[in-house]
Symmetry: C2
Subunit: 217 residues, 2 copies
DNA sequence: CAAAAAAATGACTAAGTGGTCAGGAAATTG
DNA sequence: CAATTTCCTGACCACTTAGTCATTTTTTTG
């Protein structure tokens, strides 16, 4: 059959995944410049030349890994409409983002480093999909405000603040761990989520859904 | 006379300052690993060897610069007591931190990178002064809560959220600029400060001081 | 099973890095 | 003004790094 010659390559696809995972771990820990291809190779348990065989260059691997990561940035909030409940929608969005920080802290850190350095490889993404997404969400929030369903706030800044707080738990985990004297466990994330949902929703004049009211203390 | 031999050295002190400023700019832009001593030398308009003359090593320069930066972390909030007004005190703290993000974005970025990388050079600071500072502030917030002057919130998380939001404007400026289509000017920071103060204070059941209510829109 | 394609890899290279060192210039000081 | 200390710098070195290349091994396929 005239199959696409290499196709998914099975073996190649598996190695690529292994390399991407190793790269994510290494880049998150040491940054782009601080990570050598050799380190990634060790982590992936493959010879260095093999890495360069699958990805043309260190930069190529980095960009591929960034794309991989950006696909995680989706959440239920993308599908929300102006007919949905503001309190429920925002609370769930915050909870989703907190879950991301707990389950994918490496991805969050890489994203943070990239933006810190001026987002050289994300500027295209920012000025396309990201701006469009933002406009859509801002429109919905403005609609909720116009309907008098929440306090008058600038939706842009509100979203900034939600991102800032949720990502903080992944990006600044070293500081948080030091100050708490212990790492954040699942239960701690749940408590932080409740605290944040209450802060933001109250700040927007919304009633906190029962689910996010304090349970165990 | 038995003067302290070198003392401030005048000439040496001036060069050290020049080098520290150049290092701050370079490290903030390219990170520790991404910055070469040569780059700092170019920025400071001094030969590379001269940098190594004043600071024993690249790492030594980095640590000196970090200390320099950490001294900026002080604010009026350090002096607040339980007799002060919660709304006013918190609003001013938020405003102070926002001003820091506007006037010293490089310092904020360097701090962020350091923490992202596990805060190897700040762990000592975190577990000493920083923990003590935190305990003091938490006690005051708890006192306000006990007095019924603000909503029951966990002070620890509240402070995390204030830091997250305020620092976000420095650390993620690339993303913010892309999404807004223009950089944050002084007036934009003032508006963001108002938005944030209203969000946090409302979220804590506090009345927003008149100063932070919307003025021009 | 032979031919072709894909995968693997050891040896090497060119560029850049942090840091040393010896020698000299400038400033300070008794 | 001589001596001592501080300051300055070009030449150099050991080492790391990303990436190349020629060659071999493995897998796929007609």
């Amino acid at each position: 059959m005239a199959s696409k010659s290499k196709m998914d390559g099975s073996i190649g696809a598996k190695n690529k995944q292994k390399i991407l995972a190793a790269a994510e771990k290494a880049f998150a820990t040491y940054g782009f410049k601080g990570t050598s291809v050799q380190q990634i190779a060790d982590e992936a348990e493959l010879p260095k030349t093999n890495i360069l065989y699958y990805f043309k260059s260190k930069q190529g691997l980095y960009v591929a890994m960034l794309q991989d990561i950006m696909s995680l940035w989706n959440s239920r909030f993308d599908q929300v409409t102006e007919d949905d409940d503001p309190a429920q929608s925002l609370a769930d969005y915050i909870a989703d983002k907190m879950t991301m920080s707990r389950t994918h802290p490496q991805a969050s850190k890489i994203f943070a480093m990239e933006v810190l350095n001026g987002a050289p490889y994300l500027n295209k993404f920012f000025s396309n999909e990201h701006v469009a997404w933002m406009e859509g969400r801002v429109a919905i929030l403005n609609s909720w405000i116009a309907q008098g369903r929440m306090t008058v706030v600038d939706p842009l800044y509100l979203l900034f603040h939600i991102w800032a707080c949720t990502q903080h738990y992944a990006d600044f985990s070293a500081q948080i761990t030091s100050l708490r004297g212990k790492t954040m466990k699942r239960a701690d994330f749940d408590e932080a989520t409740r605290q944040l949902v209450q802060l933001i929703l109250s700040g927007c004049g919304l009633t906190v859904p029962e689910k996010y009211l304090e349970s165990a203390k």
